[in-house]
Amino acid sequence: MTENKTLLKPSRPVGIVGYGAYVPRYRLPAKEVARMWTGGRAAGLPIKEKAVPGLDEDVITMSIEAARNAMKRAEIDPAEIRAVWIGSESHPYAVKPSSTIVAEAIGAAPHVQAADMEFACKAGTEAMVMAMGLVGSSMARYALAIGMDTAQGKPGDALEYTAAAGGAAFIIGPAEESLAVINASYSFVTDTPDFWRREHQIYPEHGQRFTGDPAYFRHITEAGKTLMEAAGTSAKDYAWAIFHQPNTKFPQKAAQMLGFSPEQIAPGLLSPVIGNTYAGAAIIGLTATLDIARPGDRILVVSFGSGAGSDAFDIVVTDKLLERRDKALKTQDYIARRTEIDYAAYARYRGKIRMK
């Protein structure tokens, strides 16, 4: 790879030692949201259905399960993990880390860094970059990075069709133990007011049409393009690509703009059937892709978080993937586990019904 100052390239090669996904079992069809708020107009729905967490689920419980799946594939002693970082915009507490509870539950506490990250939908990949740094500098052998959300959209708002629950966990470790080596990452960040939620507010606001070109497409394409230029690659060098997926169309268009075919993004394009899992969206596309990838496959991942920024990763699958990927449930196993709910059950599960 060409030396380039914009790339984040650890001095000690790193990779993904274990990965795990989680998607809750309930599904709210987009047409059910349309039935409630638009008289059932079905034209132009952004996805088919979205994943909804059960009454006893939140970012902490979902992160625990994804982390346990990652641990099964990594086959390491949890006490060797030196960091637990969780990116989310729906941490259950305003103050009290999700990461300490997850670290305790998987047996990683107490000799561990722990913190919760927030950067809209790219908080999970931000945690991954930090984990690359910690391992890549030899300060730690393993670090756990999680992106997980139980996203909420305002009732009747365009985001209610897609704001979903799910995510993924990655144990970052030395390249020689990895299922997939992360060659480098690159981040493109600007102050862009496309989407926000003020303190004490339940639902986010968005800058309407500002969301598309100046936010999502600019950051995704700049990050993807710069990474590929610096790495000396083009779309044809990658077997697979994953772009942040707030709906079905945006990642399809981003792929086209960067020269990727529909086939290259197919395994990781999950938003049509689980919705936008926010901090989990790009990386659960990566877990689904790793579930079917072959050794030697090169994968481009580009996340996007409003506010705004994108993290791009250049990843190559190793032989070890085939030995270890069947040791935990696959992303598609969770997607296949499906119970459809109506808007009333959704309103109850998401705490929209006042009990007192």
């Binding site: 059960g54 419980t61 539950a105 047996g107």
Partner: protein
């Protein structure tokens, strides 16, 4: 408010951590430091696999304080594959009817909050139908 109790029980609740008796190898849950089988001291931590089967169950419609917003829900006696019988909620049942002998696996879920909306959240084990 029972914060000290929840703090004390966190490991057994989050990860189904019990004990194994160093004398007769019986697995103990919940941990009680004395082996219920041989009466010897048993303080060695043991993390259970989380797999078991439904031994018996009932559905709660009139829930006790703290669980009202979850009713109706199913509580089961789960026979762990290592031996002990554990009382826990079943979750993620979907449309699947519960049956005695049904294989289940442990998941860590939010059990309830320790009072009003300002209180701490309590996490612990539940069981769901085995996924694979």
């Amino acid at each position: 408010m029972e914060i000290p109790r929840h703090w004390r029980l966190k490991q057994q609740r989050y990860g189904l951590v019990g004990e194994v008796c160093p004398h007769c190898q019986v697995k103990v849950f919940p941990p009680r430091d004395v082996c219920p089988n041989c009466g010897g001291e048993a303080r060695t931590p043991y993390t259970f696999s989380g797999r078991g089967e439904v031994y018996s169950y009932t559905t709660i419609y009139e829930a006790p304080a703290g669980f009202e917003d979850k009713a109706p829900y199913t509580v089961a006696l789960v026979k762990l594959e290592e031996g002990p019988l554990v009382t826990a909620q079943l979750t993620d049942l979907g449309d699947k009817p519960v049956e005695i002998g049904m294989p289940v696996e442990m998941v860590t879920r939010r059990l309830r909050q320790d009072g009003d909306d300002r209180s701490i959240l309590i996490y612990g084990y539940k069981f769901r139908p085995v996924m694979n």
